[in-house]
Symmetry: C2
Subunit: 446 residues, 2 copies
């Protein structure tokens, strides 16, 4: 029995060879390795680590346990963007249509929300009729037609990762750099990309709050991409507060549509355009960052990005009218404002507590099988550093009944701190850019 031998070796700090990882991943995918053995191996990996070669071998093994998208016939660059997860992070929903409208294919495979972080699939599914469970063949047809498909990880893609990812959530083995890197990259490398942009979050709402660990994760994923000839660019962005104002599935779709119309909040648009510029640079369709920023703004201003989004929504079974009238999204019957309890400065908007508040209102999930209420959430207008007077509105809460609303209010009150001064200065919105060449610090306008 292979698994037991590998567990014992990793337990004792030893190394696992590529062929052994392959046998293990295939066993996981086929169901011949029982979950309890995978769980023990995951914990041993978490505590004793994987070196660079093992991380590459595990990635390769999980990738090889399933199919890959064959997209070279599209004849255009194929670039995706992935985030390590945050609160209010709806950037993928803006970027996919913006970049696709600029002649680059975006085969975007996303995940669901779990714990305090949201998931792109859940957000998209708040659009009435929208389907994310397209078979790969349909996704490929849509990519040929529209240059973009927004889908979930099917059973055909990295099935070993799919099982191990679910186990990691249940066994407290999530926050491991090699395991995170291998999981993300095994899926992304299956998309048949010519380039990949990653948004690595830092700060209290990120899975890896410390920037040093975020940079290590960035370098690990860049190296894994390089192994497969897929150039990777990483931006490190702030998750010490939510991104944008809307937090919650339907509310975030509404804010994304505002963004596609040129009316999004500044922080959201800055991160979106910065990541989009890296996608366009990797795709080789622009010659400079300035040009990349300009063509994105034009795509938005001209309405082409919003139009592309409407086409994608329609192709995936959703109501394209959502782009003109976000009121077709589910609306929560109960809403309430949170106002400032005193004069002062907004010292903190804690993203983890915000995320937990959404879960408390049934807008997120603690277990993979939980159903969610797409309408529940927050619109938080207060930003760290804002001066506020007593009674000024800080945020709105939306929920499906008064009891849930109260739970959401409780979490929000804990999340937002009004004080005499900032506890700590907010993190820079974008702090680092990482490529195979190394780490650069990011400066305004870069």
């Amino acid at each position: 029995m292979i698994a037991q031998r590998l567990i014992a070796r990793k337990r004792d700090g030893g190394r696992i060879a590529p062929g052994e990882w392959r046998e293990f991943a295939n066993g996981v995918a086929a169901g011949t390795v029982p979950d309890y053995q995978s769980a023990a191996l995951l914990m041993a990996c978490f505590l004793n680590g994987l070196d660079r070669a093992e991380t590459a071998a595990l990635t390769e093994a999980m990738l090889g346990s399933g199919d890959r998208l064959q997209l070279t016939h599209l004849g255009v660059p194929r670039v995706d963007k992935h985030s390590t997860g945050g609160v209010g992070d709806k950037v993928s929903i803006l970027l996919a249509p913006i970049i696709a409208s600029l002649g680059v294919a975006v085969p975007m495979m996303s995940g669901r929300g779990l714990g305090h972080t949201g998931g792109t699939l859940d957000k998209l599914e708040s659009i009435p009729g929208f389907r994310t469970d397209l078979p790969l063949a349909d996704a490929i047809s849509q990519l040929e037609l529209l240059g973009c498909a927004l889908i979930g990880q099917t059973g055909e893609i990295a099935p070993a990762d799919r099982k191990l990812y679910a186990l990691r959530n249940a066994t407290a083995t999530v926050e491991s750099i090699p395991l995170i890197a291998a999981s993300i990259m095994s899926k992304k490398l299956a998309e048949g990309l010519t380039g990949l942009v990653l948004d690595v979050k830092r700060g209290s709402g990120a899975f890896l709050p410390e920037v040093d660990r975020g940079l290590e994760l960035a370098k690990t994923m860049i190296a894994l991409g390089d192994d497969h000839g897929c150039p990777v660019t990483v931006l490190v962005t702030a998750m010490d507060r939510p991104l944008g104002r809307a937090c919650g599935n339907a509310l975030e779709i509404e804010e994304s549509i505002l963004g596609l119309r040129g009316e999004g909040p500044d922080d959201l648009m800055e991160v979106t355009y910065a990541l989009g510029a890296e996608m366009l640079l990797l795709a080789g369709v622009v010659s400079s960052r300035d040009e990349a920023l300009q063509v994105q703004r034009d795509a938005v201003a001209s309405g082409r990005a919003a139009e592309k989004f409407a086409q994608i929504v329609e192709a995936q079974g959703g109501n394209p009218g959502v782009v003109d009238d976000p009121a077709v999204l589910p609306q929560a019957p109960y809403s309430r404002l949170l106002t400032a309890p005193r004069d002062g400065i907004v010292a903190r908007v804690e993203p983890r507590t915000v995320g937990e508040g959404i879960v408390a209102m049934c807008g997120g999930r603690t277990r993979v099988e939980d159903a969610i209420d797409p309408a529940a959430g927050y619109v938080i207008t207060a930003r760290p550093g804002d001066h506020v007077s007593r009674g000024a509105p800080l945020a709105a809460v939306h929920a499906s009944d008064l009891d849930l609303l109260e739970r959401g209010m409780d979490a929000l009150r804990r999340a937002i701190t009004i004080a005499d001064e900032l506890e700590t200065p907010p993190l820079p919105l974008i702090s680092h850019r990482v490529t195979l060449a190394g780490v650069e610090e990011w400066h305004d306008g870069r």
Copy 2:
């Protein structure tokens, strides 16, 4: 969900409180904690350890997950003996009838063989008809009548340990001192004992080969006994070679019967009587070690010990004729002698390889659900330090077909080394005696 929180805490080197261990153990026993979460917690415990208080709490929690034997009405001392496991270790089979014939109750709950070590239950079941799966009520009746019952861990006794023990075997988390100590003591404390003698093995065939770790295990188990008012005496004995000559289930029963008739090999009888003396001293039925040794020899010489064994066999459904005629035991159809390939000294009889050879002949198991061939095994007459001439017999192999016989011969050839001199001097047969008062080195005749 309790398990996930405990996993994360132990993963990060934190402590788990008694009430949490209780909730976990009850969840394991009830099946509400899934195996994959238990497996992850076991690996985190293996790698990050349990302190003294946590080990006590885990023991208490596993003990409390099931029933305890109520035996005070017997009106006699109740003492058991347990070994940490070895090759050729049939001491329990001799001691139970010897000590029971001396007026001390022996409620002995044993285990099955797994990996390279044998198990008392498997050995007993090689006696035609012998049943070890008595319900607790029947075991108590037999204790009232005969002062001894030889049974397996029923579903009623420490069910949490039962599940976790099986998981530990499958997830390479066996060799952990706190986990071994808690597992053994949760079962033994359920026997309602007034004293317990433990045989902690050291050397290459032991689960914990290093004597320092064996002593640590001994002290841990003594402290756990003390928590429950059960005095524990430990002898540390050699497992750098098999104990006695017979290795394999039916062959070991045959050798045990020889021992009960006063014809057992010296090393086996020395360990048996030394452990038996500790049992009698704990029971308070003798006033000195010399007296304890003498009454045991008398019990054997008078035939009372063999008679007691016959009564136990009969009471548990077995053929009591085995005591007079071991030929009623299953016999392997194929046998072969291994002879010395050269002149020299027996430098090594490696117990782990011997045990693996028995497994290779289907006389042991690698998975809990494996069936076994009771007749397969070895009779190894060569002892480390013996001078041998080329062609002299070293051991006999017994198997059910020629292919298995060949596999057994291969292992035996690897297990027995003939050289010009001893590789390392054999370990002293008994090296330490450990009680709550501390560790004493053992000297011949003590």
